[in-house]
Amino acid sequence: MLYLLASGGLLSFNTGFAIWIAISLVVFLLIMMKFAMPPIMQALEGRETKIRESLEAAEVALAKAEAISKDNEKALREAESKAHQIRKEAMDDAERIRNERVAKAKDEAEQIIEQAKADIEQEKQSALVTLRKEVANLAIQSATMILDAELDVEKNQKLVDNYINDLTKN
């Protein structure tokens, strides 16, 4: 069994060995720092920036989409309220028109009824007049027949008229 470091046991510092290690470590570190690591670091950082950028872009797009959908919703609500208003207006109009029509029709009807009443009254009056005349005539004729020229026509006429007037008064 051969310890290289037997003089100091486990805790001795071996210069030759240390030089070997220092040289290999320097060479290795230089290779790692100059050639091996930078491309890997760049690749990983590139990937990370790409991921971060795409995440940010996605967030922006999401915000945009949200804004758009909010706008759409707003427009929809506006349209709805407009439609509601229009419908209400239309209903009001219809109501108004209907009321007007109804009122007009009522008026017309009343007018017609009044006209009819007036006509009826007139007819009645004229009928009454005619009837009166007829009655008078009949009375005169019958009286003439009865009296047979005892009286002149004029005096009889006057008599009958008075009588009829009395009749109507009573």
Partner: protein, 356 residues
């Protein structure tokens, strides 16, 4: 279904662990029997060797010596193994230390098992990085999601170092230090994990290796130190003149304790784990020698169970210590590279940033 396969895997893993541990214990014992009177060789398992075990065979490593002979001439000799060196007649083995027959050793440049495992650690990291790099070059992972276990694992560790270690401690300048921190973390983690293999050596259980690693962190810290960092060491701001002089030695000592603690922490953790396992497995052979076969068999049940638990703990510690080494490196570098608030340049910097 998944749970079923998981438990199956776990069972398989535990069985494997038991077999491996029993095998390794017997190989340690066999080693020890030949070479010393003690039934088990604890120090031999953590010490550096001139050979490297490969599928149960010892491959002897070349020895390189820079030495000075009697005449004061510097000589550089290379031998394919220790035996050859001794056979050449120029070197002898005094208490397991190779010394020249005449003159003295200047620097022993011999390749050792720990150096080989250090290279294995770096090599494993190099393979991983090359694999990941080729994937990213092809566009897998850079344009699309990463694919496969290895690339995902690579990304987990890389992003862990970048986001959890470098970013919080180093601020805006973290990009420069990520390769250094990642290399340190991964190579230490690989070296620690190689140490879990029963036949392998743990390179980080060697004070020389951890010291060199800590020295690197120390150098990086000092080279990235701002004016402010040096001012804090040699002319502490905001205290009376006498205290300023008092603070110089305190700060200077603090400067060197940090890497020292870094080196000792990693070394002691890795070595103690290894020693603990050898000691517990060694109980089997100690009992065998002292009380006979039956005692050894009964102890082995206890020993192997404890060792399997320790192995899981060691796996955790292997990653954790690499993380702590890297985290503390980042903290020290961050402290040195930080520009303090009372610094006017810093304020201007902020204003400049805001104006842009």
């Amino acid at each position: 279904m998944i749970r079923q396969t998981m438990t199956n895997y776990l069972k398989f893993f535990y069985t494997l662990l038991f077999v491996v541990l029993l095998g390794s214990a017997s190989s340690y014992a066999a080693d020890a029997e030949k070479e010393s009177d003690s039934p088990i060789d604890i120090m031999g398992t953590v010490a550096d060797h001139d050979y490297f075990t490969f599928f149960g065979k010892k491959l002897y490593l070349p020895r390189l010596f820079l030495w000075e002979n009697d005449l004061g001439e510097l000589k550089f000799s290379t031998y394919s193994s220790t035996k050859k060196a001794i056979a050449s007649g120029e070197f002898i083995d005094i208490d397991h230390v190779i010394t020249p027959v005449t003159g003295h050793m200047v620097i022993d440049f011999s390749l050792t098992s720990h150096l080989i495992y250090f290279w294995f650690g770096l090599g494993a990291l190099a393979l991983l990085v090359m694999f990941a790099g080729s994937r990213y070059k092809k566009g897998i992972g850079s344009d699309t999601a990463p694919r496969g276990a290895i690339q995902n694992l690579f990304e987990i560790f890389y992003e862990f170092i970048r986001d959890e270690v470098a970013k919080p401690n180093l601020g805006d300048k973290y990009r420069t230090y990520v390769p250094y921190l990642f290399t340190m973390f991964m190579s230490i983690a690989f070296m620690n994990s190689f140490g879990l293999l029963p036949w392998a050596a743990t390179a980080t259980a060697d004070i020389t290796v951890t010291a060199v690693l800590a020295i690197f962190t120390f150098l990086v810290t000092q080279f990235s130190g701002t004016k402010d960092h040096w001012q804090h060491i040699f002319w502490f701001p905001g205290v009376p003149l006498g205290v300023k002089f008092l603070m110089i030695p305190v700060e200077l000592i603090g400067l060197f304790t940090k890497p020292f603690a870094l080196a000792i922490r990693l070394f002691a953790n890795m070595m103690s784990g290894k020693i603990m396992i050898i000691a517990i497995l060694g109980l089997i052979f100690i009992f065998n020698e002292m009380y006979g076969n039956i005692a050894a068999y009964s102890v082995s049940v206890f020993s192997v169970v404890i060792t399997s638990i320790l192995y899981i703990l060691k796996l955790l510690v292997a990653i954790l210590q690499a993380y702590i080494f890297t985290l503390l490196s980042a903290v020290f570098i961050g402290m040195a590279a930080e520009e303090h608030e009372h610094d006017h340049k810093h304020d201007e910097h902020i204003h400049a940033d805001l104006s842009v």
